[in-house]
């Protein structure tokens, strides 16, 4: 599903964010990317989302070479991915329904189809009853679930989550991770960046560890300590 080959990435200030990354994540896998702040977790996700471009090396996602995707094809490529963020990044002047429906409206789904799928996604995260509420009326955990509903409503093949549990208490974090697991079980490849190593270890999934832009654990290897 995702293959990195000798990927180097540095920011404009000359700081090297990723160094010679080689990794392979198979289709349908659920993988955690971990490491301290500044280790390159977010950069890794941004490269996959085509927000950044690598300086060297090759990235293949879902059979597509990312260096060859330019212009309007970037938009089409991104429609196959779902995103969640640590700070949720919901649009606060729109209802929960409108927030979750966003990826469908962007892709030009009809109103009926949008309604059906949005309701299904909200139902899945247990927030259908709050569909007409505004985001700020919801708790942090609920907002995170709205973000997750938005990330899966267009049935992406790949789900990228950047620190999804960063602001949540342990119980809510656990529920959130379980929710990701459910989506993974229906075939979505899930890639989660998180520094919450204690919880990750309990989940018994594959872990990629980064330290200062370098890959610490090898592909698919689980950290044992």
């Amino acid at each position: 599903m995702i293959r990195f080959a000798d990927v180097n990435m540095s920011y404009n200030n000359g700081q090297e964010a990723l160094h010679k990354i080689n990794l392979y994540i198979e289709r349908g896998a659920m993988v955690y990317v971990t490491g301290r702040s500044g280790a390159g977790k977010t950069t890794l996700l941004r490269l996959i989302a085509l927000v950044e471009r690598q300086a060297h090396g090759q990235i293949i996602v879902n059979g597509q070479n990312l260096s060859r995707i330019t212009g309007n094809r970037i938009s089409l490529y991104r429609r196959s991915i779902g995103f969640t963020f640590q700070d949720h990044r919901l649009l606060n002047d729109r209802t929960i329904f409108d927030n979750v429906a966003l990826p469908l409206i962007v892709a030009g789904y009809s109103y009926q189809e949008t309604r059906k799928r949005t309701h299904a996604a909200l139902d899945k995260v247990g927030l259908l009853a709050r569909k007409n509420a505004m985001p700020l009326a919801l708790s942090g955990g609920e907002q995170q679930r709205v973000g997750i509903a938005r990330a899966v409503v267009h049935q992406p093949v790949l789900l990228l989550a950047d620190e999804p549990t960063g602001n949540l208490d342990p119980a809510l974090s656990w529920d959130t991770m379980k929710l990701f697991e459910q989506f993974n079980q229906v075939g979505v490849t899930v890639l989660i960046a998180s520094h919450d190593l204690d919880m990750i270890k309990k989940l018994k999934k594959k872990i990629i560890t980064l330290r200062q832009g370098r890959l610490l654990t090898h592909i698919g290897e689980t950290v044992k300590r």
Binding site: A49, V51, N72, S75, L76, Y77, R78, R79, F83, R89, L91, L102, P103, I105, V106, A107, G108, S110, Y111, R150, H154
Partner: protein, 317 residues
């Protein structure tokens, strides 16, 4: 055959999506205007005034043109005779002039008639009673032949001027020509003003859109991240500009129409004084449509330039 049908169906579907997304963008922009009533009112008022100024001058010119048209076809030469000449002498001069080359006809306005007319129209009735004698001269209105060239009519003017009985000979057309030239200068000025103020509208709309883009930065980022094309993101902003332009031009129409209404009665009274049936013309349907088209075009182009410039700087973060 089957392939063609499928292609047609997919084109239909793409068109449907396109139309739907346009409708969505339009409704969304309307909502944005409605959500920010004060800002919308201020911006559209400024646009309205910027459009009303050149349109108002244009209207003024149109009216002046209408007035000038009445004069332009009169190529008459007025001969103001020496004061000492009596009406009988004037009549015999009229006969002489009628036989000159290039003259079609001569009409005489005797000093008595002129005074009577002036008394009737000017309203200086009582003041005129104070005068012991009629201050007006006898006047011969010489109508030159209609196909006379400018040089020939000038030559005729010179010949008439040389007659000893004539005090002043005045070609009425000269006034019309001067007026025409003045109007041409005014027209150029209005054109220049329109260009400058049109540019101002572009800048106003452009800046409004720039601010709107800035305020909705986060929204744009999220949309881009979830696969919105640039066209999708630009659309509501273009409609936003279009709506600003249209509302602004409606305000401009309203301003002009009220100005005409306010001026209508005094202008009618004034023209009645000059025994003219001149009426102040309003913008008319084509004028209103033209103004709205101009507003819409300026709104869309202002938005377009602004969007082109500013949306590219926003990338998902």
């Amino acid at each position: 055959m089957n392939k063609g049908k499928r292609l047609k169906a997919s084109i239909n579907k793409a068109l449907k999506i396109w139309l739907m997304q346009h409708a969505q963008a339009f409704v969304f922009s309307l909502g944005q205007l409605y959500k920010n009533p004060l800002g919308t009112a201020l911006t559209t008022a400024v646009i309205g005034i910027s459009l009303a100024l050149p349109a108002g001058f244009y209207l003024l010119l149109e009216n002046a043109q209408k007035l000038a048209d009445n004069w332009e076809d009169s190529a008459d030469i007025s001969l103001f005779l020496q004061h000492s000449y009596t009406e009988e002498q004037a009549a015999s001069l009229a006969k002489h002039v009628r036989n000159m080359d290039g003259v079609l006809g001569v009409a005489m306005i005797s000093r008595a008639d002129a005074l009577a007319e002036y008394r009737l129209l000017s309203g200086f009735d009582e003041a005129l009673d104070l005068l012991t004698e009629n201050p007006l001269p006898n006047v011969l209105m010489v109508k030159p032949e209609t196909d006379l060239s400018a040089a020939d009519s000038q030559a005729l003017l010179v010949r008439l001027r040389q007659l000893p009985q004539v005090n002043t000979a005045q070609l009425d057309q000269q006034w019309a020509q001067r007026l025409f030239l003045i109007m041409e200068v005014a027209q150029r000025t209005v054109l220049l003003l329109s260009v400058i103020l049109g540019f101002a509208v572009l800048l106003i709309v452009g800046n409004t859109i720039r601010l709107a883009i800035y305020h909705r930065r986060q929204e744009i980022e999220i949309h881009k991240l979830f696969g919105a094309t640039n066209a999708f993101i630009q659309r509501p902003f273009l409609y936003y500009g279009l709506l600003h332009g249209i509302i602004g031009s409606l305000i401009a129409c309203l301003l002009l129409q009220s100005a005409v209404m306010v001026l209508h009665a005094p202008v009618s009274r004034l023209s009645a004084l000059y025994s003219s049936d001149f009426e102040l013309a309003a913008l008319g349907l084509s004028g209103v449509l033209g103004l709205m088209l101009a507003g819409a075009l300026l709104g869309v182009s202002g938005a377009f330039f602004s969007v082109q410039r500013h949306i590219k700087t926003i990338d998902p973060v």
